[in-house]
């Protein structure tokens, strides 16, 4: 790509809906965030019109917080790690499309956090008081769990999923993979059934259409498709267990 002095950046904006083009001085080591910062310092469009600085979410700028996720040249990713030298021009910035738009490049990803509630994505510890060391774990197990645990709830996996749309309820790969994370923890396992129940029913794991876009889009390389496959198996087994337990409970006259 030819190195020119000016960068051409086109941003899909809201309030009101429009595209705006900006010409920005090219600086060494620039990324999409530093370009947005340049625009903040001089919010004037390519045709010389004053405008408002575009709104976007950002925080860590090193791809661990998930905030600055957006569509860059049609691909969903974090803006901080989108290096200008590796992008085709004009650079097109658009908000994520599978989440309610808030303004410009900022969207509302609350449904992802709600999904974590639905699947009870936590280890229910007894309390914060001193109960000594946690359970021993093999290194191999830790390494697998660590990868799953790097999910930053950025939403790339939902953005690329054909099963996710404003009219569908699919919970998405991120939350399903979190069930795998917690159900593989020696203590978390004790409540595996509760989490699997969270994956059953409407919008649950069976809504996955196996397009496998999620695993390619994940910036952290989380094995999302194998998480989905494993959780699909586990929910099936759980459904059978539920069926037989119900019979046991009836037979034994225990609590309903």
């Amino acid at each position: 790509m030819a190195q020119t002095d000016k960068l051409v950046v086109r941003i899909e904006r809201s309030h009101p809906d429009r595209w705006e083009e900006f010409h920005v001085e090219r600086r060494p080591n620039a990324n999409v965030i530093s370009v947005l910062m340049q625009i903040q310092r001089n919010p004037v469009t390519a045709d010389g019109k004053k405008t408002t600085p575009p709104a976007w979410d950002a925080a860590c700028l090193e791809e661990v917080c998930g905030s600055c996720t957006m569509n860059i040249n049609g691909k969903v990713r974090q803006a901080c790690s989108a290096l200008i030298d590796k992008l085709e021009q004009p650079i097109r910035l658009q908000p994520m499309k599978k989440f309610p738009l808030v303004r410009d490049l900022a969207v509302d990803r609350q449904k992802m956090f709600d999904a974590l509630k639905r699947v009870q994505a936590w280890v229910p510890v007894d309390g914060t008081y001193d109960l000594g060391p946690g359970p021993r774990q093999a290194s191999e197990e830790q390494e697998m769990r660590y990868v799953l645990s790097t999910c930053m709830t950025c939403g790339c996996c939902l953005e690329v999923c054909p099963q996710v749309s404003p009219s569908t309820k699919f919970i998405g790969a991120a939350a399903i993979s979190q069930v795998r994370l917690f159900n593989s923890h020696p203590t978390g396992k004790m409540n595996a059934a509760d989490r699997l129940h969270g994956l059953m029913g409407e919008g649950g794991v069976t809504d996955c259409g196996k397009a496998a876009n999620c695993v390619t889009a994940c910036p952290k390389g989380i094995p999302l498709t194998s998480s989905i496959a494993e959780m699909a198996r586990e929910t099936t087994k759980q459904a059978l267990r539920d069926f037989f337990r119900r019979d046991e409970r009836k037979g034994g006259g225990g609590p309903a």
């Binding site: 309030h15 600086r27 060494p28 080591n29 620039a30 990324n31 965030i33 530093s34 910062m37 903040q40 310092r41 919010p43 408002t52 600085p53 709104a55 979410d57 925080a59 860590c60 700028l61 090193e62 791809e63 661990v64 917080c65 998930g66 905030s67 901080c80 790690s81 808030v102 303004r103 410009d104 900022a106 956090f113 509630k117 009870q120 994505a121 936590w122 280890v123 510890v125 309390g127 914060t128 001193d130 109960l131 060391p133 946690g134 021993r136 774990q137 093999a138 290194s139 830790q142 390494e143 769990r145 660590y146 645990s149 790097t150 930053m152 709830t153 917690f182 923890h185 203590t187 978390g188």
Partner: protein, 625 residues
């Protein structure tokens, strides 16, 4: 009305505070400018310290106390440090029980690695994204309490100020919804600030964009004491960037990484082509005992001087090598994977095979809101005392990087995650005791007080929306950052600080001519920024003022005009001339700077440390040779 508590900030300190309050059955409102899971704690990489002593090294919390106090050149009050170091092992165990995927030994125990300023393997870690993993664990526990109805989250809400009653006590906060721009007042029996550090005052740092220090700036303007503002840590190893400087964790050196420059000035070869014998490992040479793991202030000054004074930086530029390429790639992936990826992604070079190019960057504020403590005669904190972590404003607490309490003049690596979580564990119970015993009228905040506080802020923002001057606030912020980097980082010079103090006044004048850039009421980030910027200017002003007044060198605060002579003996204590100078310096300067706001500029006085009257550990000269 039932008791209510407010926590401002959803990083490690804030979330641990929430957990302690909710665990006691209390109702908590947590306010955060981002979803709490995206807080800056995610950026912490290397690990969390605790003298668990599983490596047969005879480590002990007392040694952790000593390393921490000495690392901070004895400028921290001692009982909170003791409390923290003694609680550290059980905090790590608690996090382990919560499911943090800490790295393991072959027996399946927690693994520990080395970090700066200690000779022990004391740092538990989860790859090289330990902060992220710890934050997620606390976030999960808080979400659990949220489903139980004990916690309400106010995400994308920004703290504007605390609500103060006629008696001077804090009775709640005023906050603004950053999505809808609505401003509301919220009552509370006690409020804890956990809003992190002010890195963005320096423009580019290792901090997240959200670390403006704005909340602290406002509390300081409203009467809270801000202590030790002049102590800002510059981390030795970061990748310089256009938007931010990305941290390359100290754990790289903890796992054996080495810092060097070519022996030959201006050597044109690429790092990996320079043979071992032609590399100058200046830290190892100058500090044979601690080597690459000297404390951060020491490493930063050495790198700075090698580049700036000697012109020995790579290619004559401001950069040195941080080299892990001699460590097997599989080990690097397992223990340092997170930072290997960051370097590769942002620099396009694989650090497993080529030495990384790094330079120091602003990283952490040791200073912050002054907080109290209460200890017995042996220096043990009294559990549940309402004084723990309370600012000088009754009912207003602070925890985490936004307090000043644990790190003195320089923070040791992997002590920040610990201090955040520890402060959270003690501030929760303190707030509960305060509400129980000391709150003026529990659960009953006069609505007139809330209404007037809210009205004041609505007026202020209406005024901001009308600002239509010629100055772009982001440009002022950018220039403020450049000024702060130039005048208040690794090497401080009084003449330069005097100039900077004048310049900050100019920025304050320019602020009044700001253009708000956007008058809308949906995600108006520039209006919020105009308000933040003023608060940042106040913090910057205080950092400069306190830096100007402290005429000595201690920890991160270094003035070449005021440096102690080098001891002539191996142990500094054996050199009477050095010890006389050292004692004289401490007599004058072993004091906390106490910053209070005034209309005409910051007022700074220097106050003795109360715990030094009966110290747990007598101050001694720092040396790491």
């Amino acid at each position: 009305m039932a008791e209510r508590y407010i926590v401002v900030g959803g990083g490690l300190a804030g979330l641990m505070t929430v957990i302690k309050l909710a665990e006691a059955g209390k109702h908590v409102d947590v306010f955060s400018i981002v979803p709490v899971k995206r807080s800056h704690s995610v950026c912490a990489q290397g690990g969390i310290n605790g003298a668990v002593n599983t490596k047969g090294e005879g480590d002990h919390p007392d040694i952790h106390v000593m390393d921490t106090l000495k690392g901070g050149d004895f400028l921290a009050e001692q009982p909170p440090v003791k409390g923290m170091c003694y609680a550290a092992p059980q905090i790590i165990y608690l996090l382990d029980r919560m499911g943090v995927p800490f790295n393991r030994t072959t027996e399946g125990l927690l693994d520990f690695r080395r970090f700066g300023g200690t000779l022990h393997h004391r740092t538990a870690f989860a790859g090289a994204s330990t902060g992220q993993q710890l934050l997620y664990a606390l976030d999960e526990q808080v979400r659990r309490y949220e489903t139980e109805g004990l916690v309400r989250k106010f995400e994308y809400w920004e703290y504007l100020s605390f609500v103060r009653d006629e008696g001077g006590a804090c009775r709640g906060i005023v906050a603004m919804n950053l999505r809808t721009m609505e401003i509301e007042a919220f009552p509370a029996d006690a409020v804890c600030m956990a809003t992190g550090g002010p890195g963005i005052v320096y423009g580019r740092s290792t901090n997240s964009t959200i670390n403006t220090g704005s909340a602290n700036g406002r509390s300081y303007m409203d009467g809270a004491i801000y202590a030790n503002a002049e102590f800002v840590q510059v981390h030795p190893t970061a990748i310089p960037g256009e938007d931010k400087h990305r941290l390359m964790s100290e754990s790289a050196r903890g796992e054996g990484g080495r810092v060097w420059v070519p022996k030959e000035k201006g050597d044109k070869r690429s790092g990996k082509d320079i043979p071992e014998g032609e590399r100058w490992y200046f830290l190892e040479e100058r500090y044979p005992h601690y080597g690459n793991l000297v404390p951060r202030d020491v490493a930063t000054r050495e790198i700075f001087s090698v580049c700036r004074d000697m012109g020995m930086g790579i290619g004559g530029a401001d950069q040195v090598y941080l080299d892990v390429s001699h460590i097997p790639a599989a080990t690097l992936d397992r223990k340092l994977g997170g930072i290997m990826e960051i370097y590769e992604k942002f620099q396009g070079v694989d650090p497993r095979h080529e030495p990384m190019k790094i330079f120091p960057a602003v990283h952490y504020s040791m200073g912050g809101l002054w907080v109290d403590y209460e200890a017995d005669s042996k220096g043990n904190l009294i559990p549940g005392s309402p004084r723990q972590q309370m600012t000088n404003i009754p009912g207003l607490y602070a925890a985490g990087e936004c307090d000043y309490a644990y790190h003195g003049a320089n923070r040791l690596g992997a002590n920040s995650l610990l201090s955040c979580i520890y402060a959270g564990t003690i501030v929760g119970p303190a707030m509960i005791s305060y509400a129980k015993n000391n709150a003026p009228k529990k659960g009953d905040v006069p609505s007139s007080l809330l209404d007037s506080s809210k009205a004041k802020w609505r007026e202020r923002f209406e005024a901001i929306y009308k600002m239509d001057g010629s100055e772009n606030p982001y440009v002022i912020g950018h220039e403020m950052g450049d000024l702060m980097i130039k005048s208040a980082t690794v090497v401080k010079v009084n003449a330069q600080l005097d100039q900077a103090l004048q310049q900050i006044e100019v920025f304050k004048d320019r602020w009044k001519k700001c253009n708000v850039l956007d008058t809308g009421r949906t995600v108006n980030q520039s209006a919020a920024y105009v308000n933040q910027l003023w608060n940042m200017l106040e913090i910057a002003h205080l950092i400069l003022k306190a830096s100007r007044l402290r005429d000595e060198s201690r920890g991160s605060h270094y003035k070449p005009e005021f440096v102690l002579p080098k001891p002539t003996t191996k142990k500094p204590g054996d050199d009477p001339v050095f010890m006389a100078a050292w004692n004289a310096r401490n007599e004058k300067w072993l004091k906390n700077s106490i910053g209070t706001w005034s209309e005409s500029g910051p007022k700074v006085e220097f106050r003795d440390l109360s715990s030094l009257q009966n110290p747990i550990l007598k101050p001694e000269p720092r040396h790491y040779d």
